[in-house]
């Protein structure tokens, strides 16, 4: 089995339009949640989110590209450009044939669907743009990255709601680890902040109207975000041979299914995924220093997640730090695990643990060190990143400091 390292990272999200500004936001405990601004927002009960307000799509893409790139594809391409640029890889010859793309998204081209349904249903138009289908399809972002960078190996999109990008990165990890690919471009993207996207979530009555306060006693729901994060996962020997800068090593991955309820999380399913990732990485609970939590800020997730961490790590759960950066950038649904992996890299590389902001009141059911409100300096060698999706699908990654 090969060792797998991360040699490039890129992101756009509510905290910043690149990795540096996002990490600075994490370190400052910056709040990226703001008033939503899009068509028909006045008809929504939920009016806040981690929206990217300064996107300027027209300034980034030409007319032909705009006709084909939904917002989730735009986010992906900009994040991929940063990640692949940082890696220094050029996909030509054998490397192009042996490298691929696996990305997560839940809604895919949801804004394209929203705009076009509105046109035909509300405005009564009988014609739509010819590229609606290639623009909205969930694999559009993956395919455009593949085309843009000449990635000709395994390419596909994973859609498992809030665990999509962790599942995607787990696949990328295993492909490189097992020698199926030399490098994989991976991560996830989401742009659900449109009228239909938020309206659908409103129906479930799990959204907060004021703030995302993970683990806090007075938490009252999730807040959505948007954006993307993309990474280059590469065979360690390949990266070393070319003298690439290594951001972190990916050492383990596990996925489980609760097989119980379509929305309520299960402690056992989550705990099995956490334990599984540690086993896969051949580490003990005592090696883990930090966990990037799923931490949605809903009543159900946060207490179940804390119980699962306590189960999986035993007494060591009291010694680790666990934080939810969703409090800052919102819940990016299918892209969330990817943005959150940046907090894991920051912990390993810079020794800074991102905080859980908006933490106001201790909850006895979330009695772990949730790094409240302020970032902390700490030297950690191994970290985990949790993602637990609606549908009961759990995916946990384990990372270690760069070798």
């Amino acid at each position: 089995m090969k060792r797998v390292v991360i040699t490039g990272a890129g992101t756009v999200n509510a905290l910043g339009l690149d990795v540096a500004s996002t990490l600075a936001g994490f370190a400052e405990g910056k709040n990226g949640i703001s008033e939503l601004n899009f068509r028909d927002v006045d008809r929504l009960a939920i009016k806040i989110g981690g929206q990217i307000h300064d996107w300027d799509a027209e300034g980034r893409f030409n007319r032909q590209q705009m006709a084909l790139y939904d917002r989730f594809t735009q986010f992906t391409l900009v994040a991929a450009q940063q990640a692949i640029g940082q890696s220094g890889l050029e996909f030509v010859g054998e490397l192009a044939l042996r490298s691929g793309v696996v990305l997560g998204t839940s809604g895919g081209g949801l804004t394209t669907q929203d705009d076009n349904y509105r046109m035909v249903y509300e405005e009564g138009k009988n014609r739509v743009h010819p590229f609606v289908v290639p623009k909205l399809m969930n694999n559009a972002a993956t395919s455009h990255v593949s085309m843009e960078y000449n990635l000709k190996g395994p390419c596909f999109t994973v859609s498992t709601a809030c665990a999509s990008s962790n599942h995607a990165m787990g696949q990328a990890f295993n492909m490189v680890r097992h020698g199926v690919a030399t490098a994989m471009v991976t991560g996830g993207s989401e742009s659900m902040l449109c009228f239909g996207g938020v309206k659908a979530w409103e129906g479930l009555r799990v959204m907060s109207k004021d703030a995302c306060r993970p683990f806090s006693m007075n938490r009252n729901g999730m807040v959505q975000g948007e954006g993307a994060a993309v990474f280059v996962f590469e065979d360690y020997e390949h990266a070393k041979a070319r003298g690439a800068e290594i951001l972190a090593e990916v050492i383990g991955f596990a996925m489980t299914s609760d097989a119980s309820d379509i929305v309520m999380p299960s402690k056992q399913g989550a705990a099995r995924a956490i334990s599984g990732a540690m086993q896969d990485a051949r580490i003990n609970a005592s090696d883990v220093g930090y966990i990037n939590a799923h931490g949605t800020g809903t009543a159900a997730n946060d207490k179940t997640e804390c119980a699962a961490v306590a189960d999986a790590l035993g007494a060591h759960a009291d010694d680790i730090m666990i934080s939810s950066t969703k409090s800052m950038h919102g819940h990016l649904i299918g892209g969330t695990g990817a943005v959150e992996l940046l907090a894991c890299i920051m912990a390993l590389r810079d020794g800074i643990i991102a905080p859980t902001i908006n933490y106001e009141e201790a909850d006895p059911e979330c009695a772990l060190d949730v790094v409240p409100n302020e970032a902390r300096d700490a030297n950690v060698d191994v970290v985990l990143s949790n993602a637990f999706a609606f549908g009961g699908l759990n995916a946990v990654l384990a990372l270690r400091k760069a070798p």
């Binding site: 129906g203 009555r205 729901g221 929305v263 009543a299």
Partner: protein
Amino acid sequence: MSQDVKEKIIEIIAEQAVLDPADVSLEQSLEELGIDSLGLVESIFAIEEAFDISVPFNANEPDQSDFDISSVSAIVKAVEGLIADQKA
């Protein structure tokens, strides 16, 4: 308690609980009727649609909601209040 409102709410709850409306009594809680959190959210949606009102309910803090769901009669009272407020 208005008869129409009461009957309609019992009908909605009975449908969720897969019971005959005659088997739903005002004192019962939704839990006793076997309605889980998803069933509750669906019931509230059906109530909003039936009476054209908006029900303030967040699944994360059901106890802190102004909308009392402790029993069928509490729900009827709360809906009557909302109808009076929102149709005024």
